[in-house]
Symmetry: C2
Subunit: 230 residues, 2 copies
């Protein structure tokens, strides 16, 4: 049920963080191998404690070869992050593709966040990488872009279901929902299991209210509710 998220499962797309695009087969495999070794080391001791010399040693290559492809340590983290993000976006797009009503949107979100939660639980490396990204200004930008990308997917669907709402408001609400979804998942996996489950459920309930078609402010609760002071 959880999508395969291992580095090997997500082949080279953009890889904007690479220093040189490997053209020969040997070096293309090498890049994959480096990423796999780095992932293992991050899982073992965390990306902060992971040393570039260790990555090279584990991959059976020299430190110089490592830097041939990755301009710095952050580039490894960035590449892994982009691959994880791509997987997440595919999940989101797949789940939203079926939606044709607010009720379905509600259901899709429940499923989506369950998958998301399971992915985070199964892949501690994802958490570590996110932490590492927060410390670096350039990498933080990537995290924002990811929330924006997910938000756009949601906003496109949502806008069709509530056509009379200003697109700008939908956009920022969708952006916020996706970003806080991320935050919730990371919070949930940071605490012990039963509490983490409760937290995910609480977030789902919170968001779902904004997709409910009936009731006051129906379908646009997050976007426009009367009686709220600005």
């Amino acid at each position: 049920m959880i999508p395969d998220i291992s580095p090997a499962a997500v082949p080279t797309e953009d890889e904007t963080a690479l220093r040189r695009t490997p053209s020969q087969k040997r070096s293309r495999e090498r890049v994959e191998h480096i990423l796999a070794c780095a992932t293992a080391l991050i899982q073992e001791k965390g990306s902060d404690a992971m040393r570039m010399s260790e990555v090279a040693e584990k991959a059976g290559i020299s430190i110089g070869s490592l830097y041939q492809y990755f301009p710095d340590k952050a580039a490894i983290v960035q590449t892994l992050a982009e691959r994880y993000n791509a997987v997440c976006n595919e999940c989101i797009a797949a789940e939203l593709a079926k939606v044709t009503s607010l009720a379905e949107l509600r259901d899709a979100f429940c499923v989506l966040f369950d998958i998301y939660y399971d992915m985070f639980l199964a892949e501690p490396v994802m958490r570590d990488i996110w932490s590492a990204m927060q410390a670096d200004k350039a990498l933080r930008e990537i995290d924002l872009q990811q929330s924006r990308a997910g938000g756009k997917l949601l906003a496109d669907v949502w806008a069709r279901l509530v056509p009379d709402t200003p697109r700008e408001e939908i956009d920022s609400a969708a952006f916020l929902i996706m970003h806080l979804g991320d935050c919730t998942m990371r919070l949930a996996v940071s605490v012990d299991r039963p509490e983490g489950d409760q937290i995910v459920e609480a977030y789902k309930r919170m968001i779902i209210r904004d997709f409910v078609a009936d009731g006051p402010g129906g379908g646009a609760g997050l976007i426009d509710i009367s009686g709220v002071r600005s």
Copy 2:
């Protein structure tokens, strides 16, 4: 309106991160001075780029004296973070103290998040410190504790207003609300101004629905809503 949040304004409380508790007046002042200089450097270039040698130089002391009081670089960040957190908790407590109804709770939250947002806008150092904390496992724990502390303040008030709700559910919902409030603020100050304002407003609307006394699921929306699949 924004509380004074400069290091000097929040005198020594616990300072659990200090290596040695300064007993003489000279060294107590020195610790304050170190923190002030560190704050200035973080504001100038970020905590990651801040060098321990720079802190010592700016404070006019030797590198050895610096390490006399702070066991490592993270301890400086931690001390500043604890002080900021203390200020935030005082704000929360002050705002919640007046609350005697769900409607007042709703208003208190609007005010609280406005203050919070202004604080983040006025103090870029707070953002930087939070980023630095995320990269370090021990410091991340402090961030969680902060959300828990704020959540407890909220839960105590909330539990009185909806007495028939299981305390456990209130706790995790309150924890989540405070934590996501933090996340929202940091998101809001990471984007350009008008969008940041919209994001804060959207979060307030989202949370407020759960404090609204009338309407379906009134007063406990986040905690228990019928028809939600688990």
